[in-house]
Every structure is written in structure tokens, then in C-alpha cells.
């Protein structure tokens, strides 16, 4: 493997021909530079965050009070479906890939990603995929309205958008798989001499495991949607009961993808948090090895819990028991992680710059999402929670103050490395407090709504749910508007500001802090030596 490392390093030099640099749009279209591609991924995901967020605000506007005031029920369902698809595949996943592109080569001391041209390709597929997906809003029948889970038979009632949806999902899958291959090859083959696997930063570890999850499950999703396609157009009956097919089989296949997908969206977040907390606690990460093993255990368990998403579909008692036990088991490695982070802060000398604030909020709020997850594992209680707003509260807690807070924390943490300037700390703190207050105002009342009996994915509700829905709507607008401040802070930081040092923070650990800020276009042409 050492030999290949050398070959790869020589080979990588070929891409670093310092011939005439492309300018303008061509620079971005044809770039093979991991930093450029990382930037494009991050900007793309930020744009998608606002597109998906605008859809969320359509939803919250309609739900502000009982009665249908603004949209038709079918359009409401389109918004629910598109909001989920865009946030999952367009915002959260590309944001993590963007961070991986920027940071993994810097963290392992590699000059670039292992497969730079494929890297370019895997990014540029995404705007095409989401162009197709968003175009469905304008075709006869409107956008997909059957939920992001695409359950048949309902999804087969989609209009002209149906083949576009399937094609877009295929493209997203291809992009993810190529990105994952690139990350695995980079991590396994291009580490600097001395960087053994158990010396890798946790962000690199969590991404390595995430990349394997992606390769394992994206083809499963592709298979499931292809069967939908042939059911619709070629007369097959994979999922059509009338032809001897089985609509529940789709759910099994979908969630065999879908549950690991949940961890695809949270493991890199764990990695980011594991980088930030030690830096601002001025103390090494507690239990590095158990963090790695916990991540691997979570990834393994994610393959054997899928049916907890479908307890109400009906399954034998033994099946229910099995999936209840495995689901509860996930709480153990997840608990280890939370305890290790707390132990890292314990007896540290903490300061609370914006990245640390978001990381600490992550600890508290992600844990609340973990608690509701534990409650959902209890099958008899799940019969009450399932498909209610309690579930909506649960997964938004793990995805918004979970995954998205970690992404925001990572952006603040590494932004000075990317731009060479410090962001405005006062505005960053303001952004943190606004975001944290509004995120709770939006999602906490949803627990109550679900327990009181409000089903999810309904455009209108009985009057007893009015009060908490209004609170959630107010919170959602506050949350959405607060993110404009985030954009402003990033723009301001990109344009100028206090010069950032190479280290940026006080004695941070990691190779990324050994290169100047902003990180030059080409780094580690000579591999650093890790002791």
C-alpha cells in the first residue's frame, strides 16, 4: 500500500500542471481541484437549503391556522415531498460531501482527492438532478406528491413528474456513489506517511464509514425506484397487489436503504463535533478508539433495524421484537459518543466561539432527538407515535439541530481556513442564538401535537391543534430568516475581515492547521510526515 501511495502522489502531480489557468465559468466547470469542488458543493447545498426552506415555509404558512387558506391539498403534498427530497439529497448530503472534499485531503495530508476528474463529474451531476427534480413543479400533474418515501401504490399516481423523479433519484445516487468511492480511495491510499488509520482525525473516520454505507445502500434505492419505473411503464408487478406483487416489499427495500441513509446524514456530523469540541476545550478528544468503534457499530446496526419504520405495516410478533431490540441497541454506541463528548469538555478550559456554541447546542438537542428515538423504539408506544407529529419532531431534532447544526459549526470552524479571514464573531453569536431559539420554537411543540393525536403530512387539522401549530409557524419563519444572517456572515468573511493565522484557533490539532490561511490552491505537494 505504501508503494501505491507513492505512485498516486506522482500521478496526482500530473493534474497540477501549472499551465494556463482557466478563468470565469470554465474554471468552475472543468475544475478538478478538491477545494474548488468542495466550495461548489457547499454553495450548492446552501442554495438548496433555501429552496427546501422556502417549501417548508409554504407548509408552515398553510399550517399556521386551521382551515385551508393558501394552497390546494395536492400542492401541499407536493411541498411536503419536495421539501424532504431537497433537504436530504440536496442540502444535507452535498454539504457533508463538500466538507469532505475540502477537509479530507487537508486532514490526511494528500495533495488532492484520489480521483479528481470523477470528483468534478460527481458534483456537476447534482445541479442536473435537482434541475430535473425542480422542473417537475411545472409539468402536468405537478411535482411528486406521494412523500419522499415514494411508497407505492400512491407514488404510481404521480403525473408526468414520475419518470423525472426516478431519473433524478438515479442521478443523485450515481453522484453519491462516485463521491463515496473517491473518499474511500483517498483515505485508504493517499494518507501522509505516518498517518496510520488510528491516527486519522475522527471526521475522516466517520466519513470513511459513511462512504461505505453509501456504496452499500444507494444501489438498493436505485433498484427499488427502478422496480417502480417498470411497474409503471412496463407492466411488471413488483409492488402491485393486483398483479401478485407486494406493496410492503417496497417498504422493506426502501428502508433497507433508508435507515443507513439516516446515519449517512449523522455520522459525518459526529465527526465534525469530535473535531470542534477538543479544540475549544483545549483538551484531547476523550476515548478516540471507542469513538471509532462506536461509529462502526452504529453503521453495522443501521443495517438491521430498518423495519422499525414500518411497525404499523403489520409483521409477526418475533419480527417486531427483533427490530425493537436492535433499535434500542443503537442507543448504546450513540450514548458512548455523547458521554465521550461530555468527558472531553470535562476539566477542559472552554471558550465559546461560534463553532463551539453550535457544537454544544448539538450535544443537547441531538440528545433530545435521541431520547424521542428511544421512545419510538418501544413498539406498543410506536403505534401511537408512528406517522404523527411526534415522529416529525423526532427526525427534525436529529436532522436540524443535529446534522445541520454540525454542518454550520463546521462551516464556522473551517471558514477562516477557506477564506483567510475571520468571520464576524458578534454576528456569528447572534446567528447562533437566533437559530437555537427558533429551532426549538419550531420543533419542540411538534412533540405535543403528535402526542395529542395530530397525524403528519396533513394540510389542515382539527381546531384543538391550532395553538402549537401557530407557535411552530412563528418559529419556522424566525428560523428561516435567521439563516439570511448566516449567508451575510459568509459573504462578509469571503470578502475581507481580520486576517486569519494558519492555526486560526488556539493550538488546534490536525494537518489542516499547518497550511496557511487561506489554504493555497495546491497543498501538500510534498507529503507531510506524521509522527
Amino acid at each position: 500500500m505504501t508503494a501505491t501511495t507513492h505512485n498516486d502522489a506522482d500521478h496526482a502531480d500530473d493534474h497540477h500542471d501549472h499551465g494556463p489557468e482557466l478563468t470565469g465559468i470554465k474554471r468552475w466547470l472543468f475544475t478538478t481541484n478538491h477545494k474548488d469542488i468542495g466550495t461548489m458543493y457547499l454553495i450548492f447545498s446552501l442554495v438548496m437549503l433555501f429552496v427546501g426552506g422556502a417549501m417548508a415555509l409554504v407548509i408552515r404558512t398553510e399550517l399556521g391556522q386551521p382551515g385551508m387558506q393558501f394552497v390546494q391539498p395536492d400542492f401541499y403534498n407536493q411541498m411536503v415531498t419536495m421539501h424532504a427530497l431537497i433537504m436530504i439529497f440536496g442540502a444535507v448530503m452535498p454539504a457533508f460531501v463538500g466538507l469532505a472534499n475540502w477537509m479530507i485531503p487537508l486532514m490526511v495530508g494528500a495533495p488532492d482527492m484520489a480521483l479528481p476528474r470523477m470528483n468534478n463529474w460527481s458534483f456537476w451531476i447534482l445541479p442536473v438532478a435537482f434541475g430535473i427534480l425542480l422542473a417537475t413543479l411545472f409539468v402536468p400533474g405537478g411535482a411528486p406528491a406521494g412523500g419522499w418515501t415514494m411508497y407505492p401504490p400512491l407514488v404510481l399516481q404521480t403525473g408526468d413528474a414520475f419518470p423525472m423523479l426516478i431519473f433524478a433519484v438515479h442521478l443523485m445516487g450515481i453522484s453519491s456513489i462516485m463521491g463515496a468511492i473517491n473518499i474511500i480511495v483517498t483515505i485508504l491510499n493517499m494518507r501522509a506517511p505516518g498517518m496510520t488509520l488510528l491516527k486519522m482525525p475522527l471526521f475522516v473516520w466517520t466519513w470513511l464509514i459513511t462512504a461505505y454505507l453509501l456504496i452499500a445502500v444507494m444501489p438498493v434505492l436505485a433498484g427499488a425506484v427502478t422496480m417502480l419505473l417498470t411497474d409503471q411503464f412496463f407492466g411488471t408487478s413488483f409492488f402491485r397487489a393486483a398483479g401478485g406483487g407486494d406493496p410492503v416489499m417496497f417498504q422493506h427495500i426502501f428502508w433497507f436503504f433508508g435507515h443507513p441513509e439516516v446515519y449517512i446524514m449523522i455520522l459525518p456530523a459526529f465527526g465534525i463535533i469530535s473535531e470542534i469540541i477538543p479544540t475549544f476545550s483545549r483538551k484531547p478528544l476523550f476515548g478516540y478508539t471507542s469513538m471509532v468503534y462506536a461509529t462502526a457499530s452504529i453503521a453495522f446496526l443501521s443495517f438491521i433495524v430498518w423495519a422499525h419504520h414500518m411497525f404499523t405495516a403489520g409483521m409477526p410478533l418475533t419480527g417486531q421484537l427483533f427490530f425493537m431490540f436492535t433499535t434500542m441497541l443503537i442507543a448504546v454506541p450513540t450514548g458512548v459518543k455523547v458521554f465521550n463528548w461530555a468527558a472531553t469538555m470535562w476539566k477542559g478550559a472552554m471558550t465559546f466561539e461560534t463553532p463551539m456554541l453550535f457544537a454544544v447546542a448539538f450535544l443537547f438537542l441531538f440528545t433530545i432527538g435521541g431520547f424521542s428515538g428511544l421512545m419510538l423504539a418501544i413498539v406498543p408506544a410506536d403505534f401511537q407515535y408512528h406517522d404523527s407529529y411526534f415522529v416529525v419532531a423526532h427526525f427534525h431534532y436529529v436532522l436540524v439541530p443535529g446534522a445541520i447544526f454540525a454542518i454550520i459549526a463546521g462551516v464556522y470552524y473551517w471558514l477562516p481556513k477557506w477564506t483567510g479571514h475571520m468571520y464576524n464573531e458578534t454576528l456569528g453569536k447572534a446567528h447562533f442564538w437566533l437559530t437555537t431559539i427558533f429551532v426549538n420554537l419550531t420543533f419542540f411543540p411538534m412533540h405535543f401535537l403528535g402526542l395529542a393525536g395530530m397525524p403528519r403530512r396533513i394540510p389542515d387539522y382539527s381546531t384543538q391543534f391550532a395553538d402549537f401549530n401557530l407557535v411552530a409557524t412563528v418559529g419556522a419563519f424566525g428560523f428561516g430568516l435567521s439563516q439570511l444572517l448566516f449567508v451575510w456572515i459568509i459573504v462578509q468573511c469571503a470578502r475581507g475581515g481580520k486576517k486569519a493565522t494558519a492555526e486560526v484557533w488556539e493550538n488546534p490539532v490536525g494537518l489542516e492547521w499547518t497550511v496557511p490561511s487561506p489554504a493555497p490552491h495546491h497543498t501538500f505537494d510534498e507529503p507531510p510526515v506524521v509522527k
Binding site: 484531547p284 476515548g287 472552554m350 465559546f352 406498543p380 393525536g453 403530512r457
Partner: protein
Amino acid sequence: MTRRIAAALIALLPTGAAHADWELNMREGVTAISREVYGLHMLIFWVCCAIAVFVFGWMIVALVLHRKSRGVEAAQFSHSTKAEIIWTLIPAVILVAMAVPAAKTMIAIEDDRNPDLTIKATAYQWKWQYEYLDEGVSFYSTLARTSNDARRTGSGIDPESVENYLLEVDNHVVVPVNAKVRVLLTSNDVLHAWWMPDFAIKKDAIPGYINQVWFRAEEPGIYRGQCAELCGQDHGFMPIVVEVLEQDAYDARLAAMKAEFGTDTPRLANND
């Protein structure tokens, strides 16, 4: 954290009418199973609260004491095998302790032997059809006209002025009190789900499948639920209403239902 505590404290207060606004907690319901489910829900809730007090308390103490502005020196320890074993094992023990009562309730839920009455519920976009299999009674149950008029986009009708907005149907399911009622669920088109919070029942209605649930309601009354699986544009508008009657009243209603709906082919109750 404070929100969590406040919510927990409020949840402790005796709750008033089940349909009061600002409702915070799951209802206990009117069956032995629903009370067991409520008990499990509260048990796991308090377990989570206890863990929260410990974990959040630990982190808050650290956040207050171990900050650089207090002039502390950072310690440099990075692992403790003993601590790591403890916080792997203790959660595992708690989980096993939770799994046992949950499994017991699951076994009770699955015991669907010897029903007193069997009703087959077939879901349609967007209404329910109920067939009393041994009585030759069959009817459709659709959203009440008052709600249906008010829920049109821009109808101008204030939902607050509609009694049981979106939770009323034209024809109620009628069952006797204290009888073990089995409901067979299937669908004629897409997936739906039959959710009755007061009975702690939620089960999908799936084309090509017959799913089974049962309940034994212990208090007469009118109980309301909704379709809980996205089923198209009017998913929010296909409620479920079950009326639990004393045996005499039930017998009288059944006779009336036989007169009205007692045909071989179910009649469309509404105008669809």
C-alpha cells in the same frame, strides 16, 4: 434543558378534557391496552428524563466550571477504560429493563383470539367502508358535510365554527361497550392507516393484505381518529369515528343499521 423540564412538569399536571387546546401528552384512552401503552410511554419518558438530568447536568456543570475565562488549566486525560465500560453497560441494562415490559404489552396486543364482533374496514381514496361481517351490514363513512364545506381552500368558513372540525363523519362505526371488537383492515387503492388514539391502535390498510387489530372499549362514548398514512390529496380528510354504546343501545342501533344498510351491496352514503 429548561424547556425540557418545563414540559415535563406541565405534563405532570392532571390534564383536563382530552380535547383541550395546548394538549401536551398522549391520552390514556379507554382500553386496557391503551392504558398499558400510556404506562410504557410515561415509563420511557421518565427514563429519558432521568438520563437527561444526569447527562445534561454533567455537561452544564462542565460548561459553568471548566471555562477558560475562570482561569482554569485544561487537564490532558484522554481515556478511562473503567468509565467507558460503565457508560456502555449501564445504558444496556436500562434498555433490557425497558424491553421486558414492552415485550409483554406486545404479546398482549397480538392476542387476537375470540373476538365478539368482527368489522372489516376497507380504505378508499378518501373514505372508509365498514362491513359488519356477521350482521350483513355495510356502509361508507365519509367526512361530514359541515367539515367538508369549511375545508375547501378559501371557503371563508371559520373552522372554529364547525363542531368537531375534520373529526366528524356521516356514518359512525358503532360497537358495544366491553366487547372484543376485531377490525380487519384492507385497502382498495393506496396505503392508508386506521388510527384510533383512544384505543392505542394504528395499523396500515394495504391493498392485497388483510391486517388485523382489536380493542375492548371500556367506556361508552364517541372516539375520533384519522387516516395516518399519506394517501393522496384528501389524506387529511378521511376521519374515523367509533361510537361505543351500552349493549341495549347498540342492539337498537344495529337493528336500525340493518334496516338502512343491510343490503348485499353497500350503498354510497354520501353523494359521491
